[in-house]
């Protein structure tokens, strides 16, 4: 009787474990990659690649604010193919000018010596979308990822009981389980 129950439990665990694993494989990979990138976000910007270019604006220094009409700013943007992305320019203080560009790029000029920096921002494909999902931005994604969270518990529990014998919970699997639990506990209590 009990033996039959264990047999049925293992059988169903294998089925559930297999099907849920197939179904959630994509999400597991998304969370794994975006989690890795977010762990290292000080070194890898998950959303953008940023590159800066130095340039100089000729003229009599200090450059005058009034000289920076929209047309002149557009001329400065032309070499970088950004004139079509002009949003607005303004003067954060008496010595500098900043230009906002659609897409997230910007350009700043030091009026005292004409030195400028163009910061080109480009969206990082795939990883930026993955990290956006990781942050649970959409209502329906939150619901889906909640289901995924519970499914992970089911995948884990079914994985624990589906193998029998010396590779199962009472053998090597059990030792691996204990080690795997001790590692996070060590971080919680000693770090």
């Amino acid at each position: 009787m009990f033996g039959n129950f264990k047999k049925q439990l293992r059988k169903w665990s294998r089925t559930i474990h297999r099907d849920l694993s197939f179904f959630f494989s994509g999400v597991i990979i998304i969370y794994a990659i975006s989690g890795f990138v977010l762990n290292h976000k000080n070194k890898i910007n998950p959303d953008y690649t940023i590159k800066t270019f130095d340039f100089n604006v000729a003229g009599n220094y200090p450059l005058l604010k009034d000289d920076f009409t929209k047309d002149r700013v557009l001329t400065i943007l032309e070499p970088y193919n950004e004139s079509g992305n002009y949003t607005k320019h303004y003067f954060p203080n008496d010595n500098s000018m900043k230009v906002f560009l659609k897409g997230g790029s910007s350009l700043a000029i030091d009026l005292t010596d004409g030195s400028g920096i163009y910061e080109r921002v480009r969206r990082r494909p795939i990883i930026s979308q993955m990290s956006r999902l990781h942050y649970n931005s959409y209502k329906w994604w939150i619901i889906f990822s909640d289901i995924f969270a519970f499914a992970l518990i089911i995948i884990t529990l079914t994985g624990l009981v589906m193998t029998r014998g010396k590779k199962g919970l009472l053998g090597r699997g059990g030792i691996e389980l204990i080690i795997g639990i001790l590692i996070p506990l060590g971080f919680i209590f000693f770090c």
């Binding site: 906002f100 659609k102 897409g103 997230g104 956006r132 931005s137 209502k139 889906f144």
Partner: protein, 190 residues
């Protein structure tokens, strides 16, 4: 049987994706709204509090954690207002950055008073204060919006708030500071 499974899967997918397309929600009323600049909105914020407003400005920053806050700038960075997204609206699109953005939503007042500052001090002492910005150093854009761009740490920030509360109490008889933000219902990139 297989066909039924596929149809069910397709239906679930359709339901899920149909709700996350676009960034606009249906407006609750047909009342015509005047679009304000950030400068004008901040100038009349006290009267407009808890009302639905429509404002446009340059989006100078989207909070990197979650993307549910952005900042709209008016004529300069001292005229900046925070916009918060609702759960239903989700994160602001990254395309908003440095673009002109039109936001419609309810204007809310955030008051900073002595009770708020004491709570913040306690949280800082206990290490439970909510961190924001990259690495928890605080959001520079928000500090600028609150007139605190020269303040470098939380202690100085609290001191600065206290001095300004005292000043306001003396001049206006109000022992708190008022900052305004918008709870966005909808937005669009212009």
């Amino acid at each position: 049987m297989k066909k039924q499974h596929l149809l069910l899967l397709a239906f679930i997918s359709l339901m899920a994706f149909s709700s996350c397309t676009g960034n606009k929600k249906t407006a609750d009323s047909d009342v015509e709204q005047t679009t304000l600049s950030v400068d004008d909105l901040l100038a009349t914020a006290e009267q407009e509090t808890d009302k639905v407003v429509e404002v446009e400005g340059v989006c100078t920053h989207i909070c990197s954690h979650g993307g549910k806050k952005l900042f709209l700038m008016g004529s300069d960075d001292s005229k900046t207002i925070r916009v918060e997204s609702s759960d239903a609206l989700g994160a602001f699109k990254s395309e908003c950055a440095n673009a002109m953005v039109l936001v419609k939503g309810k204007l809310k007042e955030e008051r900073i008073d002595e009770a708020y500052l004491m709570k913040l001090e306690n949280e800082l002492a206990e290490g439970t204060a909510k961190e924001h910005g990259e690495d928890g150093e605080g959001c520079e854009t928000e500090q600028k919006a609150q007139g605190q761009d020269s303040v470098s740490n939380e202690a100085e920030r609290i001191k600065n708030f206290r001095a300004r509360i005292a000043e306001r109490n003396e001049t206006e008889g109000k022992n708190y500071l008022s900052f305004y933000y918008i709870e966005a219902d909808e937005y669009s990139i212009l």
